[in-house]
């Protein structure tokens, strides 16, 4: 919020508006996320959270407004270029490469770090050996972080849903991102899986900025320092989760919504 701390902002959005034809999905949303923060975005179904999320990480172009990530404007940049600058995200659906094994998923996540090409692969050059070593080291770290050590050769598609979500975080972690966007990471998890997931996010949070869109208020309350509430495409309040959840407009919005879990 403060002007002085601009340099420390990981994500900064100004007056984001998004129209789909005549429908206004987002209407003047601004937010500032400090480096190292775990920031939540909540709101009833259809409030525009996912649209906001896609805009913040550069997948969708806003109709108007600007986004800066680590101080740089991302307007007009291709999603893969943004990804290469240390931004990773997970998806709500199709979060993993279902036909591939756990280790292959992690290999795909490592894409930006590889320096060797096909010829390097054939002749086993130095860059190939280096790439391989650093991939293996990172994969081992990530596998133990996400607790999938014993499942490395299993196909991602056959893993339990909650486990797939952890793998999705693992894929994102392979590039050691500075900023992570997690799109409803705990959706569809049971209580135990959610608890494990919260522990995982806490473990990976140091040194990173994390933005979470989430329905599960327990997750928001336990993880986030601050949360933004979006209702009908408009920002309602940004504050600590326990304050946010008592805000009269938020209470009204959630009591009015009938299909929230």
């Amino acid at each position: 919020m403060s002007m002085a701390a601009d340099a420390a902002l990981a994500v900064s959005a100004r007056d984001i508006t998004k129209r789909y034809g005549g429908v206004i999905a987002l209407n003047g949303v601004s937010l500032d996320v400090q480096q190292g923060e775990i920031f939540g975005i909540i709101g009833p179904n259809g409030a525009g959270k996912s649209t906001l999320f896609d805009i913040l990480c550069g997948i969708t172009e806003p109709s108007s407004g600007s986004i800066r990530i680590m101080g740089g404007d991302i307007g007009g940049l291709a999603p893969h270029v943004i990804a290469r600058s240390g931004v990773a995200r997970t998806f709500q659906r199709t979060a993993v490469f279902a036909e591939s094994t756990v280790t292959e998923n992690l290999l795909f996540g490592r894409h930006t770090s590889f320096r060797h090409g096909v010829m390097g692969r054939i002749f086993g050059t130095g860059s190939y050996a280096q790439d391989q070593q650093s991939y293996h080291d990172r994969a081992e770290e990530v596998l133990s972080l996400i607790g999938l050590d014993g499942d490395r050769e299993r196909k991602a598609g056959v893993l339990a849903y909650g486990v797939q979500r952890r793998l999705a975080v693992g894929v994102a972690l392979m590039s050691d991102p500075k900023i992570m966007f997690l799109d409803e990471p705990a959706a569809g998890m049971n209580g135990r899986e959610t608890a494990d997931f919260i522990a995982l996010i806490r473990a990976i949070a140091p040194g990173r900025t994390i933005l979470i869109v989430e329905h599960d208020m327990a997750v928001i309350r336990q993880l986030c320092g601050r949360a933004l509430v979006v209702v009908d495409g408009k920002p309602v309040v940004v504050d600590e989760p326990h304050h946010v959840l008592r805000h009269p407009e938020v209470v009204a919005a959630y009591l009015g919504a009938d299909d929230d879990e």
């Binding site: 998806f91 279902a98 790439d131 991939y135 050769e153 894929v171």
Partner: protein
């Protein structure tokens, strides 16, 4: 975690290098044995042509199994290879090798132009537009009489030689095409295990997620297209010693469909799947002595059955049997 283990990027087990060398040695031995023992010119020439067409199936699978598009226009590059040899040798008097090389370069140039336009499209749109372009090529070949010989095509080439090797000799033809095919397979294995191979696979499975981990999806698709084109052109060039004539029919979509059937028969997920498919595709009609029209019927039925029971191709049945009865050791073929 020693560094120089082949396949470790793709997660294959230890000791695999020795095993892979054994596979390659076996393949070389088989080619040599087949080439030296069989002397029936018809069978040996057909085997050589099968190898050439297997290259075409490999090219199709770079796109189908690689990035998940159905390249109905792939026979365009096959035709560039065939006409490249026919025009280069017949009209310009170039040696076979030079004509082939020129055709390969030309196919890459065409792929760059066509890819830049068509690869913005995905799914059925990509397939239909690329199919349409082969129609354009066919009309051009039919009407540019001075260059292509028009509807009658080009024929009556000087003896085709690769260095000192006479491709008019059936056994030599077979050995040359078979070893080229083997080299192409080994190259594609290396491609699949390289970061580019991983990027292709991530694009095929989930382009959005691939983008989010930093893969330039458009670039990967274009590179795959540029890789597939010279393979198809090489197949077209190597089929000329067998066909001895090049007509506008090379641009017929039925050509591509034959290649696609081979890929589906053998399995798109396996690098040698298309080669297995090509073998079956030539072998079955010969053994059963099928009429061309019946052939289509038989293969269409086989494809329907495969899609129902083994959508990953016939090798999937083998894997399923192994998983059921054998120990589950290896993870996947490459």
């Amino acid at each position: 975690m020693t560094a120089k283990r082949p396949g470790a990027m793709a997660g294959t087990a230890s000791g695999s290098m020795v095993r892979e060398l054994v596979y390659v040695a076996c393949a070389v031995a088989c080619i040599a044995a087949l080439g030296l023992t069989f002397s029936d010119p018809f069978i040996v020439t057909l085997a050589g042509y099968t190898c050439a067409f297997a290259l075409f199936a490999l090219s199709i699978n770079v796109i189908l199994g690689g990035v998940g598009e159905v390249p109905l226009g792939q026979c365009l590059f096959f035709g560039v290879g065939s006409y490249g040899v026919a025009i280069g040798m017949g009209k310009l008097g170039l040696p076979f090798e030079v004509a082939v090389l020129a055709a390969l370069v030309l196919s890459v140039v065409w792929a760059a132009i066509i890819g830049a336009i068509t690869l913005r499209l995905t799914g059925a749109y990509f397939s239909i537009v690329s199919w349409g372009l082969t129609g354009v090529a066919m009309v051009a070949a039919n009407n540019l009489d001075d260059i292509t010989g028009g509807p009658l095509g080009l024929f009556g080439f000087p003896p085709i030689k690769v260095g000192p090797l006479e491709l008019s000799d059936p056994q030599t033809y077979f050995m040359v095409t078979a070893f080229i095919l083997l080299a192409a397979i080994l190259f594609l294995v290396a491609v699949r295990r390289s970061p580019f191979g991983a990027a292709m696979e991530s694009v095929r499975q989930n382009p959005h997620l691939a983008r989010s981990v930093g893969v330039d999806v458009a670039r990967v698709r274009l590179k795959a297209f540029l890789l597939s084109a010279p393979l198809a052109a090489l197949a077209g060039a190597l089929s000329v010693p067998y066909t001895q004539i090049v007509t506008p029919e090379v641009f017929n979509v039925a050509n591509t469909v034959d290649g696609l059937l081979m890929v589906l028969l053998g399995g798109a997920r396996l690098i040698i799947g298309p080669v297995i498919g090509a073998g079956m595709f030539t072998l079955i009609p010969q053994v059963m002595n099928l009429d061309p029209n019946v052939r289509i019927l038989v293969f269409s039925s086989i494809i329907i059955l495969i899609m129902m029971f083994a959508p990953g191709g016939l090798h999937q049945l083998g894997l399923a049997l192994r998983d059921r009865f054998g120990r589950k050791k290896d993870v996947h073929g490459s």
